[in-house]
Symmetry: C5
Subunit: 327 residues, 5 copies
């Protein structure tokens, strides 16, 4: 009655911090983990209700936990039950091509001799975290809580490329705003703002539950094995995201100013050309009048002189407008 192998990404028994070789079935695992210094680590990927149910029953998880585990879209949280800690973390991944942030979720059921990790979404594949921990038996020997801590560390570290990606985008957008001939980047600015707000909504609520772990309220792992950087890195992410949000608000305002400045520059340029074109029209209008007695009209050089005057006036205006910066 074991669930689909594709859903169970990896599951193994760890004794004294070392992985026991070979594959075990779910019920073998659930009985073996009661041994001293042994625990089970099961990794699931987007299980259905039935798939998760078999795991739940083996480890006698709370029925309500099933509901949580099969649907994503929960708030980051850390709930302490009598014999278990249930944690939900948000994962994030930056998709370069679409310039968007994709969010996922990792849920952990941490008991005294088991840890069941359910992942939703693409972000933060946990296999590297498992490899890293399996090479550190002195950490793994502290059991499921150490694993939980290691996973939290991994998830928060995976925010770094997201921050990096958004930082690059914001710098590009700044260049576009202040460059002379770029497209107006208002849509891109807005979309970045949306991504940043979403990222804030995913990360900021994680500060409180994580500080419970780090601050020692629910600490299971000795201080000297794990540094307190997880909390720190998360705070840096949240502060960075808030700075991004403020920057984008300012960029949006600066961009609007830039549009207005350019509109004014265009208006000046247009007006200058209109003024230059007005000269021949005006002169032509005067000498197009049908008065019988217009002495200039009968002089031999009247026409070339007028043409010369028009050209001179136009050139003067042209250089005048260049000088005052309208052209």
């Amino acid at each position: 009655m074991s669930p689909n192998r594709a859903v169970i990404v990896d599951c193994a028994l760890y004794e004294d911090g070392r992985r026991r070789p070979g594959e075990l079935s779910l019920d073998e695992l659930s009985s073996a983990c009661h041994a001293k210094n042994a625990f089970v680590w099961i990794g699931l990927y987007e299980p259905t209700e039935e798939e998760f149910d078999s795991v739940r029953r083996e480890f006698e998880l709370h029925e309500l936990a099933v509901e949580d585990a099969i649907k994503a879209h929960q708030r980051p949280k850390l709930e302490v039950y009598d014999d278990m800690v249930f944690a939900v973390y948000k994962t994030a991944r930056y998709v370069e091509e679409k310039e968007t942030v994709e969010f996922g979720e990792v849920q952990m059921f941490v008991g005294s001799d088991y840890i069941i990790v359910v992942r939703h979404g693409e972000a933060s594949a946990l296999t590297p975290a498992r490899r890293w921990l399996e090479h550190r038996p002195e950490v793994m020997s502290y059991g499921p809580a150490a694993v939980g801590y290691g996973i939290a560390d991994r998830i928060v570290d995976d925010y770094a490329p997201v921050i990096q990606g958004l930082d690059n985008d914001i710098r590009e957008v700044e260049l576009e705003v202040f460059e002379e001939h770029a497209e107006n980047p208002v849509e891109r600015i807005y979309k970045l703002k949306r991504e940043v707000l979403e990222l804030h909504r995913a990360t900021a609520p994680m500060v409180a539950p994580l500080s419970q772990v780090v601050g020692g309220r629910y600490r299971f792992v000795p201080d000297d094995l794990l540094d307190r950087d997880v909390q720190d890195h998360l705070l840096r992410v949240v502060e960075q995201v808030e700075t991004f949000s403020d920057l984008l608000t300012s960029v949006l305002a600066a961009n609007l100013t830039r549009v207005s400045v350019r509109q004014n520059e265009d208006m000046r340029k247009i007006s200058a050309w209109v003024a230059i074109a007005a000269v021949p029209t005006l002169v032509g209008g005067i000498y197009g009048m049908n008065f019988e007695n217009m002495p200039e009209l009968t002089t031999t050089y009247g026409y070339p002189i007028v043409l010369g005057v028009i050209a001179a006036a136009c050139l003067s205006l042209y250089f005048f407008f260049r000088r005052i910066g309208w052209l």
Copy 2:
């Protein structure tokens, strides 16, 4: 002296968590509920003062509670009296056609052997909640507090479609802002902002009273029967609403920029055509002058040459403006 049946939506006696079949009058209910493991659940819909008064007297509710129960428009709150808890929750419903959020209110008088639920407004019909709970006698056996908890759960769950509806509207509005030929959506943005601010005012003050229930200060139901998701879902709603509010502020600013960008584009387009039209006017003005000695005028091909020059100049300008993106 029983009140209007239309006002009493449903009332029943529950013994050991199971509904006793048949209808009972108000005074039968109020005496029957004193039995061990029995309680009464009365659901009222927008009662008048007299209608509510008969209920109040049967259950010896505090006189001041009547005032509260017959008028809506209170703040969400949870008040603990000696023998009763009085709770007010806000309900919300998304009306697709009008793109508005309608608000209602649910008031609960929770005693040791009765729960009286008064609903105002369309949102969050509670019959489904009753059906759900009646199928879970193991929950119902915990009495009125479990019912209160179930109703709070239902109300908060009913915010989900409101959030979904607003999310859709905001995404539509974003498309309108950045699409080329759409109407300017400033009115729609503003109206969404208004709805979002109203929703924030309805939901944010519910966090504190609900956390009293969930955090255990006034807890009546054991942990393992009810998950702590209500509080979590409410927090998600509030955070989502705050993100909406920020997004709409940014959309409003982006839209203004968009208007300015388009104005500039229009101005450039207009100016380009004005410049093109200026050429024949200018040339016509020159050759409309009445100088006697204008050699071009007497040449055979003067006129077609000038027409050709005008056409060539206009076309050159046209292609020039296309190249610099003004047309």
Copy 3:
């Protein structure tokens, strides 16, 4: 040595919650109130220093209190002295004609057997509160604190029409912003913003002192006589005022967008008419040239054909501009 009768709005002795008929002088009152279950309620309206001094000396009020009582413009507060509570509340009144909010102040000196109420400004006449309380001897029998509570209730209730008035104004202003042919309401929006900010400054600092009364720190009246709605209503007012403030910021931004949108519409309309007018000018310029050899000029129908061409071009442009929405 009793002060001006116009200043003392009303003063009376209450025994067992009932008003003793007849008028008493200040010193009769101050000695009579020491009787068991008796207290004095004195209402003053904008007293001068001398007028208030006679009251102060009779009841041995703290000298510094005089200063406070004769000038308005204090912050809402609640100060507890050894034998007295001194409270300052802000009153507000909506003046429809001027669309402004007028502020006043009510100061209360609450001792064990007296309450002296000093009112400044038009808002919240307290006679109705006295009438209401005099019909409830069971409340009045709890003495001065009950009176103080009743007055606070009255003051907070009197914010309701202010909120209502501002709400109406904001809705009117919204209509003006989005209506086609209305005057630009920027001045009105700004003035409403000013009123709303002032109202916030008057009401928000009242939350803390009022919660001391309601939350029980200085409670004098039993729970079952007075509901806790005062605090609730005040919080609703403050939250509403904050929503107003946010709405007005958004309305200001939406209005600016509206102005820009309309400017663009005007510019397009103007440009369209300029383009239409340019056609005859342009054609007139061409055929106004004085070339000798312009074959069209000598044809019989040249002129009407050109007129027809001009008319046709103008009409085509007109319908073109209608189609693209510029006219």
Copy 4:
């Protein structure tokens, strides 16, 4: 070795709250103040390091205090040392002509039998505070702490004219924004915003240290001698300054809208005149064509009729534009 007399504004010995007549040298003062019920009050104005050093040595002040005392530009604070309280308050003065707020600083070293007050900047001359206190021996008899309290009171009272001045300026600026023919006040608005932000930075950090004094943590003077208004007045100033800041943000936005509205009005006015001027140009263009067969040209009244048509068309346009509000 006494410092410059101009630096020591006033210094005196107070016995039982009364000033001992005559002038004493610094070392006489420092020994006399140890007497029972006696204390010294020294007022200094912007002392140099050496000038202050002689005072410091007489009263054995902490060496680090010298640094603080000779330079201004500290944050408001209240530091409690073993035998001394060191307080720094910010003073403010409104300069009408320049429409700016000037800031100063008052530092107080309050021991059990001395108070040394160092003032920097023009604002809040303390001589009136000394006069006021010297007329209240019952307050002065409580020693240096009462003096410190009196000075704090004076400093906070001196904010009132600053608030008044800014309030006037903001009201003037509002009039300028909404008046028809005023200069655009954007520079003035911005400068007021700067002053208001500076004032906020000076006053807001004083709330915490002052509440330590008033709230009793370091209280030296009995309640009944000094009212708690200092704290209250300061809070009113801070709240008023915050309201100013919000108002100026709104005024800036309203002003931008106003500029846009006026630009649109100007554009409409200009366009209307352009349209009116287009009529004769257009008609003149038509009848300036050189077709041989233009029957109107040969009629006797053709010219006056055309002039009449032009005038009629111009007038019609003029009244049309008046009616739609463009002129």
Copy 5:
């Protein structure tokens, strides 16, 4: 196995607060520092992992600390381990030419008999702090904690020129915004805003860890030796930075208004000239009509009179536009 000398900026043994002359190798230092009243101060500059490792092993620092020390970009923090305090501070330097703020980092490992200081980035060279402290043996005799305090003092003092530089820039930018003929400074405003936001992110998180040191939770140095100004100065910096941020937001808004005002001024100027140029064109158009019966055309002085009328009309318009301020 001693690391590169360029990495170790300075290292010395202090006995009773005085530096022992001569250079010692790392292992001599680590054994000598166990002596009574002796400690080691090692200053490193951007060490690599291997370089730092030799130091770490000599002083038995926690392995996790190595990671932290070799990479910068951590949050300011203060972590208390069993036998060591680990602190991270951010340094800042204003680069005049580029108008940017450069950030660095100082990390301190403070044990009972050693202090290891790792600096990253250009800002806050610590040699002056060492010189200053070496001249104060009475401070140095308190050991590593006093050194740590002195360094924190130095770092915070080094913010002053940054604040000064930004203040100058903001004042320059204000002048540019309100000056008549300056370039639009929108890009500069935005870049300043970015620098200010970055500075806020660097300084604000230092308040909490520094207050732990100053507020006494981890205090090692007696009060009378070190003033509490570090915390104060940091708070002043943070408040100043927040004021800068608000000012720049207002400057951005004022600048946008300024652009709009100037656009309107330009539009008016342009329109005025267009109107003036329209007069001769219009009159020329009228008298260019080819009506046979135009009496003015045949009069002797018709032409000069018309020229005069045109000139008079143009001049009148010119003076009219000057009067209403459009020219």
